[in-house]
């Protein structure tokens, strides 16, 4: 008997499809209320750091260089008060096989799929993760399908995503492209059912643990070369996996670096809007993912996301689109390094945050991404102009996402703006309370304190505030 394929029927089969395609019974970690056993999930379903290093070494992933950006640091010091301007470094993750840190997540997922005997892997992503899975699948001899949200309903595509599709196809993957809308997940479930492939989700324990090597490796490289860990590390934050994995890796190395998340500010633009889709110049690394995935990680494509950024974030900042474009051009002009803009989100934040830090401190931006046609400041700014976005020099404070792009008229105007973490924490607590009908148990309170990196009194006060 064939199954009903309408939206509601397919979504109702989600749990069953997921269990089969990820090979994890998430029910084992559930408490029956808000709390679930995150530590147990990460321990029992993942690999040890040593195993991951071996998997990634075999797949030519990792051991990427750390580059000190001396000229960019000097420029930041020109904008800072005397004695300030931390040394800025980047970890050149573009040197991975598929051109981004996502190769780390994909290496683990594809290794795991092959070990479990799956014939192919499927992933839903419009980002660099698609090419990463395609690349690893090519090496492992597995089939690969990448499902992308790429075009508006008129068939006009984001140049950055079109390039990512080309790269996936170049690496032998099938690319299924969709117009705007969250029902991408519906088509994704149908494809999982049809093919029986492994769900190489970005949010499984193996995917997130794959990034732990990045944090660990960074700490070891710094200690070898400079005799200490970086004082602060900035991670571009979207779905939360980059920050979560990096922070967990740093913890495993015993590093106590401050972990800062950074997203491009796209406030005011609705991510599921067909008419606003092509009004933005960033398709990842932005607040449209960063904020909702921080405050409710379980909105992802697995029942329990392993990416839980509020557990690890010391600070969260936003930067404007214009500032990221400016810093991308500056990186090319002053450092001779041409990289993709989205990966430079945290670099724009670093340029500002370095100025708050004394000049003997080390500040690391933990990723870069590849660049090319479509995925480059030139075509992305050109596309913005074609879509009626006004581009001009001025104060980035005046940028309105979807209306204009303000290139800073001077680098001293590049500012990282702090997001109120307590507001996000309270929002997570609210979402958690709304997800169940019963009042929170003592275990739930403890869990929410861990989820928000606070304590039980913070959680209780937040609950009282919500009830008031």
């Amino acid at each position: 008997m064939s199954l009903a394929n309408d939206y509601a029927s397919v979504m109702a089969r989600k749990g069953e499809i997921m269990k089969k395609s990820v090979g994890i019974d998430y029910g084992e970690f559930e408490s029956g209320s808000i709390a679930f056993d995150y530590k147990k999930m990460m321990q029992e379903t993942s690999y040890t750091l040593e195993e991951m290093q071996k998997i990634q070494l075999d797949a030519h992933v990792g051991n990427t260089p750390i580059i000190e950006l001396r000229n960019l640091t000097a420029l930041a010091r020109k904008c800072a008060k005397p004695g300030f301007g931390a040394r800025i470094f980047i970890k050149d993750e573009a040197a991975n096989p598929s051109g981004s840190f996502k190769a780390r997540r994909a290496a683990n997922a594809v290794y795991h799929a092959k070990k479990l005997g799956f014939k192919g892997v499927l992933t839903a992503t419009s980002g660099n993760y698609g090419a990463a899975v395609a690349s690893q699948a090519a090496m492992a001899g597995l089939k690969c399908i990448v499902v992308q949200e790429c075009y508006d309903s008129k068939g006009v595509g984001q140049p950055e995503i079109i390039e990512k599709a080309r790269k996936c196809e170049a690496l032998g993957a099938e690319v299924v492209q969709l117009s705007v809308g969250p029902e991408l997940f519906y088509k994704f479930l149908l494809l999982l059912e049809e093919t029986g492939y492994f769900n190489a989700s970005l949010y499984t324990p193996f995917g997130i643990a794959g990034v732990e090597t990045l944090g660990y490796e960074t700490s070891i490289q710094f200690r070898e070369k400079y005799g200490k860990d970086p004082d602060a590390i900035i991670c571009t934050n979207a779905g939360g996996g980059n920050l979560t994995g990096t922070a967990r890796g740093l913890e495993k190395a015993g590093a106590t670096s401050t972990v800062i998340g950074a997203s491009v500010n796209l406030s005011g633009l609705h991510m599921a809007s067909d008419t606003q889709f092509n009004k933005k110049s960033f398709t990842t690394g932005h607040t449209g993912f960063g904020i909702p995935f921080s405050t409710w990680p379980d909105r992802s494509d697995v029942p329990r996301s392993a990416a839980r950024p509020l557990r690890y974030m010391d600070r969260y900042v936003t930067v404007t689109q214009g500032c990221v474009f400016y810093i991308t051009e500056t990186l090319a002009s002053l450092e001779g390094l041409e990289k993709g803009p989205a990966g430079n989100t945290s670099l724009a934040a670093a340029f500002s945050i370095a100025q708050e830090m004394p000049d003997d401190r080390f500040l690391l931006v933990q990723e870069t991404e590849y660049t090319g046609a479509g995925k480059h400041i030139q075509p992305q700014l050109s596309f913005a102009r074609e879509n009626g976005i006004k581009l001009f020099f001025g104060d980035p404070k005046d940028e309105i996402p979807g209306e204009n792009l303000v290139l800073p008229s001077h680098p001293s105007l590049i500012k990282a703006t702090d997001v109120d973490l307590n507001r996000l924490r309270k929002s997570l607590i609210k979402a958690a309370l709304n997800s169940v009908s019963a009042p929170p148990t003592p275990e739930d309170i403890r869990f929410l304190a861990e989820e928000t990196r606070t304590d039980e009194s913070f959680v209780r006060a937040a609950i009282e505030e919500l009830e008031a």
Binding site: N71, Q177, G181, Y186, H270, S273, D274, E329, G374, I377
Partner: protein, 100 residues
């Protein structure tokens, strides 16, 4: 006429406007969810015909035939002169006037 076996791009409606998810914003609810996918054409056809293809992973898909040998047309876009201004500005601030 596009021959059987050629590499083609098709377009298919996955959800009609009235079938869309309840949470989508109003502008998105007015339009269908569309899919584009590539594969080998299974019978001779004309552009616009509803055809069957076999995709790269061996799946069968049906949809309207859009293009044979679909070409990547993304590029570096129109030149953006503002980028020259940024490069000149940061070199000027850091190295002074003659460093261009």
């Amino acid at each position: 006429m596009i021959k059987k076996g050629e590499w083609v791009l098709i377009r298919k409606t996955i959800l009609e406007p009235h079938e869309r998810a309840p949470q989508v914003p109003d502008d998105t609810k007015k339009v269908p969810l569309i899919m584009w996918v590539k594969g080998r054409l299974q019978a001779d056809a004309q552009i616009g015909d509803i055809v069957e293809i076999i995709t790269q992973t061996g799946r069968v898909e049906q949809g309207a035939l859009l293009e044979a040998n679909p070409t990547y047309r993304h590029s570096f876009g129109e030149f953006i002169p503002e980028l020259l201004v940024i490069g000149d500005q940061v070199r000027e601030i850091l190295f002074g006037g003659d460093a261009k």
